[in-house]
C-alpha cells in the first residue's frame, strides 16, 4: 500500500466521522487555519501536519477514490467517510515503517523547506566554487533561500574544504541513522559539481515508488535531520548554522502572536479586541491557538475546575469533539470558547479507537 494511503487511513481512524474528509487534506498540506491546527491536535495526528504541502486536491481525491474502490473506506453521512473492516485491519497491522517515527509535522513542517533548500543550494554552490566553476545555474531560485546561501558563502568562502568535509561527516553521520532507502533517495537528490540531482520523477523510476512516496520519504528524512540537529547541536556544529534562525513557528498566525504579547502585558480579552480593532471572537480564536502551542497556558484563568470537569465528562459522554453535541450536555453558562479551550488542551481520546498512544508532541 502506498505511503500516502496509509497516512490517510491512519488519520481517518483517528478522526473517525467527526470531520469531513477535507479535514485530512488540510492537515496534510498544513493549512494555516486554527481549525486545522486544532484538528491535528485533538485527534492526535499532529505529526502529519504539513508533511505534504504540494499535494494537489485532485491527487488527494484520486487516492480517496482508489481507497473506496479497494473497499478500504466507505462513505458515511454528510460528506464524511469511515474505514471498512478491511481498512481497520490494515490500520492495525501497519506502522513498522520507520517513516512514521521520523515525521513530526506540527514541529518541523515550517522549517523543513527552508532547511532542505538551504542544504541543497549550499552543496551546489560550495562544490562548484571549490572547483572554480562559477557558471552553474542554481537549482533553488527562491530569493529568501538564495540570500541566505549567499551570506553563508561569504562567511565561509575561505575555508570551503573544511565546510565540505564537515558537511560530509555530519550528513553521513545523520544518514547512518535511517534506512538505506531513505539515505539513498536523499543522496540522489543532491546536486554537486557537474552532477545534477535526480528529479522526483527519476527517483520514482529508480526506486519503483510512487511520486507521493518519494516526496513523503524525503520529508521524513528532513524532519529526522531537523530533530537530530536541533537536539544534538554539539554533534552537528555546521548543520546547526542551517537551522539556528529557523525557530518553529509556534504561533501559526502573526495575529495570534500579537494577541499573545498583549496578553502578557495583562490586558483583558475585551481590551485586546478593542485595542486591535478586532472582534472578540477573533481574539478567542487566538487564545485557542495559543493554548494549543503553549504548554504553560493558564487554562484555569478561563475555565474553573468544576467547569473543566463537566466539559471533560461531556466530551466523554458525547464521545465526540463536535462542539454542538458537547454544549447540549452542559449548563447554559458554559461557553463555546471554554469548550474549545478544553478540547485544545486535553489529551483524551474518543472511545472505540483502542489506539491510545499519545502523540510525542504533546506529552
Amino acid at each position: 500500500m502506498q505511503l500516502l494511503d496509509q497516512i490517510i487511513i491512519t488519520c481517518l481512524e483517528k478522526i473517525k466521522t467527526e470531520r469531513s474528509i477535507q479535514a485530512i487534506y488540510y492537515i496534510l498540506i498544513g493549512k494555516k487555519s486554527i481549525q486545522t491546527v486544532q484538528d491535528a491536535h485533538i485527534f492526535k495526528i499532529g505529526s502529519f501536519y504539513g508533511i505534504y504541502k504540494t499535494l494537489g486536491r485532485d491527487a488527494f481525491d484520486e487516492r480517496i477514490l482508489q481507497l473506496k474502490k479497494q473497499n478500504v473506506i466507505k462513505p458515511h453521512v454528510e460528506n464524511t467517510i469511515q474505514l471498512t473492516e478491511k481498512g481497520l485491519n490494515i490500520v492495525h497491522q501497519q506502522k513498522d515503517d520507520s517513516f512514521f517515527q521520523h515525521i513530526n509535522g506540527l514541529r518541523y513542517s515550517d522549517m523543513e523547506v527552508a532547511f532542505s533548500e538551504r542544504l541543497l543550494l549550499v552543496i551546489q554552490t560550495v562544490t562548484n566554487s571549490k572547483m572554480g566553476y562559477y557558471s552553474f545555474i542554481p537549482i533553488i531560485d527562491r530569493s529568501t533561500i538564495t540570500t541566505w546561501v549567499r551570506q553563508f558563502f561569504y562567511v565561509h568562502k575561505d575555508n570551503q574544504d573544511k565546510v565540505l568535509l564537515a558537511l560530509y561527516h555530519e550528513l553521513r553521520q545523520l544518514l547512518k541513522g535511517i534506512s538505506d532507502l531513505h539515505a539513498s533517495i536523499f543522496v540522489d537528490r543532491l546536486t554537486g559539481y557537474q552532477n545534477y540531482g535526480q528529479s522526483i520523477q527519476q527517483l520514482c523510476y529508480q526506486y519503483n515508488l510512487h511520486e507521493h512516496d518519494i516526496q513523503l520519504r524525503l520529508t521524513a528524512t528532513h524532519h529526522y535531520m531537523l530533530h537530530e540537529v536541533l537536539n544534538l547541536q554539539s554533534q552537528y556544529p555546521l548543520l546547526t548554522n542551517f537551522v539556528n534562525d529557523l525557530t518553529t513557528n509556534r504561533f501559526i498566525t502573526n495575529s495570534a502572536k500579537k494577541t499573545n504579547q498583549l496578553l502578557h502585558q495583562h490586558y483583558s480579552l475585551k481590551q485586546i479586541a478593542a485595542y486591535r480593532g478586532l472582534k472578540l471572537n477573533t481574539i478567542y480564536d487566538h487564545i485557542v491557538e495559543i493554548a494549543i502551542y503553549d504548554p504553560s497556558f493558564p487554562l484555569h484563568q478561563y475555565v474553573d475546575q468544576s467547569a473543566y470537569q463537566e466539559i471533560i465528562a461531556a466530551i466523554k459522554q458525547a464521545n465526540s469533539f463536535k462542539l454542538k453535541q458537547i454544549k447540549q450536555l452542559l449548563r447554559e453558562t458554559t461557553s463555546y470558547f471554554q469548550i474549545r479551550l478544553v478540547i485544545a488542551t486535553t489529551t483524551i481520546s474518543l472511545k472505540s479507537g483502542e489506539n491510545n498512544e499519545s502523540n510525542s508532541l504533546f506529552n
Partner: protein
C-alpha cells in the same frame, strides 16, 4: 581603434568569444550607431548577443521585451552565471519588496527584461521615463504579429511606449519571420524605415526525415529501434504534458540502459532545472518534452529531434528542430506522422478561442450586470471561472470587448445597438483567426505529405535560395538512418552505495583512495 575592432575587443572581454557569428556584427554596428533594426537570424545563431553586447557598451538602460517569463529567467540566470551581473527580469512572480527594490535602483542595471504585460504597469512606466533608455529590444518579435491580434494585446501597445520613452533605438529580433510577418512588425511598431538584416534560416547540417506510421504503437517501435542503436542527445516533442510522461515511462522500460526523463511546464522549478542541466551535462540521453523545453537551452551537440506530435505551424517546427546540431555536426529531425495526429492541433485551434455561444453568453451576462449596476470583479481568474472560460479565452474576449468600448476597466458600458454589432464583429474576427490558423496547420500537414525535397519546401516561404546540405538532405532525397554515424555518448555508470555517492559529491576534487564503508 575602429568600431569593428572595438566591438570584437569587448566581445572577447565580456563574453569570451573570439569572433562574431553570421549577422551579429552587422546588427550590432547598426544598433550602436542609433539605427532601428529588424534582425531575422536562425535559431541558435546567437540572437541575444545582438543586444547583450550593446547593453554593456551603451550609456543607459537596454529594455528587452520577451514573451515568456521562463525564457527571461533562463537568460538572466545564464548572464549572471557568466558574470553579466547588471541584469534583471521584472516579472509578476517577484515578491513585492524585491520588485520595489529593483525599481528604486533601476539605474544600476544595464539590461532589463520585461513582459509586454508588465510594461503596461504605470509604476514601471514612470520609473523608466525617469531614466535614460538607450535601446528598446523586442525579442521574438514575430509575437507582435502572431499573438498581438489575439490574447497578447499589450504587444500592440509597444509603439506608444517607445514614443513615451523618447524614441530609443529599436531592435526587433526573430528567428521565424516570413516576409509577411516582417512587414507586420514594421507597421505595428510604426517604423517603416527600420534596417532589415535578414539571414537565411536553413540549417545545412540538419537532415529532414519523415516517417508515416499507422499509430502510436508504431511510433514507439520506431523509437525503440533507434534508441537500441544510438545513444545521442535527443529531444522528443509532444503536444501534451500527459503524453511526455506516459511515453517517457514506456521508452525507459523498453530501453533500460538509456537515461530518459520528461520535462514540461507543470513541474517544480528544482526538477526542471535538474532535468535541463542533466541533459546539458550528458547525464541524460533523451528528454520527452513539450514546447516548454528548449527555449534558451545551450547545448551544442543535440543530435536528434523527434516529433512524436507535430506543431500547428511550420514556424514552430523550424524553431524546435533548430535546437539540433549547433556545433555544425550532422543532426537529424525525425517527424513521426500518423493521419490521426491532425486532430490534436485541430481541436486545440477550436478550443483556444471562445465559441460563438460562449461569446453570446458572456455578453448576455454582461448586459444583465449592467442593468443591475454590477461592475466586473477585480480578479480576472474569478471572472474567467464565472464565465466558464479558460483564462486565455477570457483575456482574448476582454481585449475584444475593450476594443469595442463595451467594457472599460471594471465598468460595463452598454448600448443596445452597439451590443449587437459588436457581437457580430467579434464573432467574425474569431472565425477569421481560426481560419488563419487552420491554414497554417494545413501548410504544416502539406509539408509533411510532400513528395519532393523537404528541405527546399520547408524554407520556401522564408527565402528563395538554400545552402547545399552538408551531409545529407532529406528522406525524400534518399536519406536513410543507416547512413548516419554520429558520435555516441559515453556513459559512466555510478551505481555505488549512497555512502560513496555522498563522498563523490561533497569531497569533489579530493583523492578517493580510501574505500567507502
Amino acid at each position: 581603434m575602429n568600431q569593428t575592432a572595438y566591438l570584437i575587443d569587448n566581445l572577447q572581454q565580456y563574453f569570451g568569444y573570439e569572433t562574431f557569428r553570421e549577422g551579429q556584427l552587422e546588427i550590432i554596428e547598426d544598433v550602436m550607431n542609433g539605427n532601428d533594426v529588424l534582425g531575422v537570424l536562425p535559431t541558435g545563431s546567437g540572437k541575444s548577443l545582438c543586444y547583450q553586447l550593446p547593453a554593456k557598451l551603451l550609456e543607459g538602460i537596454t529594455i528587452v521585451v520577451s514573451p515568456l517569463i521562463s525564457l527571461m529567467m533562463d537568460q538572466v540566470k545564464e548572464l549572471k552565471a557568466n558574470h553579466f551581473k547588471e541584469v534583471v527580469a521584472i516579472n509578476s512572480f517577484m515578491e513585492y519588496n524585491e520588485r520595489k527594490n529593483v525599481l528604486q535602483n533601476i539605474h544600476q542595471y544595464k539590461l532589463v527584461y520585461v513582459s509586454p504585460e508588465m510594461l503596461q504597469h504605470p509604476i514601471l512606466q514612470s520609473t523608466l521615463k525617469r531614466v535614460h533608455v538607450s535601446l528598446f529590444v523586442i525579442d521574438e518579435a514575430h509575437c507582435i504579429s502572431q499573438w498581438g491580434h489575439e490574447f497578447r494585446p499589450d504587444y500592440l501597445k509597444l509603439k506608444s511606449i517607445i514614443e513615451d520613452l523618447q524614441e530609443p533605438t529599436v531592435l526587433a529580433l526573430s528567428a521565424t519571420a516570413t516576409p509577411t510577418v516582417q512587414e507586420d512588425i514594421l507597421s505595428m511598431l510604426n517604423r517603416p524605415s527600420m534596417i532589415k538584416h535578414i539571414y537565411p534560416m536553413d540549417r545545412d547540417n540538419i537532415i529532414f526525415s519523415i516517417e508515416e506510421v499507422g499509430g502510436d504503437r508504431e511510433k514507439l517501435m520506431i523509437m525503440n529501434h533507434i534508441f537500441s542503436t544510438y545513444r545521442v542527445p535527443t529531444l522528443v516533442y509532444f503536444s501534451s504534458k500527459q503524453a511526455t510522461e506516459d511515453v517517457s515511462n514506456r521508452l525507459q522500460e523498453a530501453n533500460p540502459s538509456l537515461r530518459i526523463a520528461y520535462y514540461h511546464g507543470g513541474m517544480e522549478h528544482i526538477d526542471r532545472i535538474s532535468i535541463q542541466q542533466q541533459f546539458t551535462n550528458d547525464q541524460l540521453d533523451v528528454i520527452c518534452c513539450t514546447s516548454a523545453f528548449g527555449m534558451g537551452i545551450n547545448k551544442p551537440n543535440i543530435r536528434l529531434i523527434i516529433h512524436y506530435h507535430f506543431p500547428a505551424q511550420v514556424e514552430s517546427f523550424i524553431q524546435e528542430i533548430g535546437r539540433a546540431g549547433r556545433d555544425g555536426n550532422a543532426s537529424i529531425s525525425l517527424l513521426l506522422y500518423s493521419k490521426h495526429d491532425i486532430y490534436i492541433p485541430q481541436s486545440f485551434i477550436r478550443q483556444e478561442l471562445p465559441s460563438r455561444t460562449e461569446v453570446h453568453d458572456v455578453m448576455e451576462k454582461l448586459s444583465t450586470w449592467f442593468k443591475k449596476d454590477i461592475t466586473l470583479p477585480d480578479d480576472q481568474e474569478e471572472i474567467a471561472r464565472d464565465f466558464q472560460l479558460s483564462e486565455i479565452q477570457w483575456r482574448f474576449l476582454r481585449f475584444q470587448l475593450e476594443k469595442h468600448g463595451m467594457i472599460k476597466g471594471q465598468s460595463i458600458l452598454y448600448s443596445e445597438l452597439n451590443w449587437e454589432q459588436t457581437f457580430h464583429q467579434i464573432d467574425s474576427f474569431i472565425q477569421s483567426r481560426q481560419l488563419l490558423k487552420e491554414k497554417k496547420l494545413i501548410e504544416m500537414v502539406s509539408w509533411i505529405n510532400a513528395t519532393d525535397c523537404l528541405r527546399r519546401k520547408i524554407y520556401q516561404n522564408f527565402q528563395t535560395t538554400i545552402k547545399k546540405p552538408k551531409f545529407a538532405c532529406c528522406s525524400n532525397c534518399g536519406f536513410s538512418f543507416s547512413d548516419w554515424k554520429p558520435e555516441q555518448t559515453q556513459r559512466n555508470n555510478t551505481p555505488y552505495s549512497w555512502q560513496k555517492r555522498l563522498k563523490r559529491i561533497l569531497l569533489v576534487g579530493e583523492k578517493m583512495n580510501d574505500k567507502a564503508k
